[in-house]
Amino acid sequence: MELLCGEVDPVRRAVPDPNLLYDDRILQNLLTIEERYLPQCSYFKCVQKDIQPYMRRMVATWMLEVCEEQKCEEEVFPLAMNYLDRFLAGVPTPKSHLQLLGAVCMFLASKLKETIPLTAEKLCIYTDNSITPQELLEWELVVLGKLKWNLAAVTPHDFIEHILRKLPQPTDKLPLIRKHAQTFSALCATDFKFAMYPPSMIATGSVGAAICGLQQDEDVSSLTFDALTDLLAKVTNTDVDCLKACQEQIEAVLLSSLQQFREEQRESGKEEEELDQASTPTDVRDIDL
């Protein structure tokens, strides 16, 4: 008798739909509506009194870790951050509610995007039971009301596939480029300085940064840096200089988070094995610059 030991993915996914990916109108529509889903203002200046930018990073990092550990779909985290930012842009919130808010946003994003969504109970456990499922459900209504039930927001993830399709890269390199680009745009969602950028620009910058980063080790692109930037800028109608600046910022954030990670690793070397289980979005740490 043989024992079969394999991880069975219980989630069924649809195959990529060529009607959605090979029709340019989709990309154009995404570009047209993306601005609607940006937070209304830079809320640390004009709305929030108690919350500081570093607290947003704390809650974002926690949310990313939960999504990774629960192997959520890639879109869940950036979408949840979009909800969080839009809520905070309108409602002054004490810092003691921030984790509850983060949990609610993951709850909603997961329900919108996943076949098997995160449960309220599970999210409460991740807050170390500092909130109850009942509170989560009640706040879900509050957040929905404040977001005007407008949940189908556009995130950088929506653009990545459209951008990749327009590049002359060899198809065998695409999965790696895609994975890195997704990681970079998730990283951008943890940093407030990207919160007001159009998602298309973050996506374009992430793809650019991914290709440039990978290019150092292997030949993933036949284009020069400038030719690549020009092409990318054209795909999403982004200004070339803005795109370059955005890509530089992404690379800087990546570098600092890699450094931070190495420091943490040095501090707690033994926890490494546990950490390595995380898979989605791609770990920043297995990316070499």
Binding site: M58, S96, T119, K122, I125, L141, V142, G145
Partner: protein, 160 residues
């Protein structure tokens, strides 16, 4: 839990980020924000969703009897009677706004509203609302339109 994605409770991801959470304050803030959502809805639709009374404003509200709405859309419990959807407690937006009212008189009764123009030069407004001056964001002119679009969404979601 029969869930595919179990939580290791010892996981270092399980953590409290900002110290103790005051349950009382969470509840108070929730109620206050919920009230402000209701207020916004009330201002937007000139309709008091708590007492179910039409107010002065852009919309004219009238009672509609025997609309033949599917049972699904008629709130029956405090969260609406959605047990057949499997989702259990999730209310739809209209029942959210209706919560807290007496439930008895909802059966077979609904309200429809029409956008009216306040400018004297345009006394007639087409029922579709597409030509209404303030109608830019208001393609939806009656609650039945709303119900139809909701219903479509539900069916799409259930397709395999």
């Amino acid at each position: 839990m029969s869930d595919a994605r179990q939580i290791p409770c010892s996981s270092k991801v399980c953590r409290r980020l900002f110290g103790p959470v005051d349950d009382e304050q969470v509840r108070r803030d929730c109620d206050a924000l919920m009230a402000s959502c209701l207020k916004e809805a009330c201002d937007r639709w000139n309709f008091d969703f708590v007492t179910e009374t039409p107010l002065e404003g852009n919309y004219v509200w009238e009672r509609v009897h025997g609309l033949g709405l599917p049972k699904f859309y008629r709130p029956s419990g405090p969260w609406g009677g959605h047990d057949d959807l499997g989702g259990g407690k999730r209310p739809c937006p209209s029942t959210v706004l209706l919560q807290g009212t007496s439930q008895g008189d909802h059966v077979d009764l609904s309200l429809s509203c029409t956008l009216v123009s306040h400018s004297p030069e345009r006394p007639e407004v087409s029922p579709s609302g597409s030509s209404a001056p303030q109608g830019r964001k208001r393609g939806q002119t009656s609650m039945t339109d709303f119900y139809h679009s909701k219903r479509r969404l539900v069916y799409c979601k259930r397709k395999p």
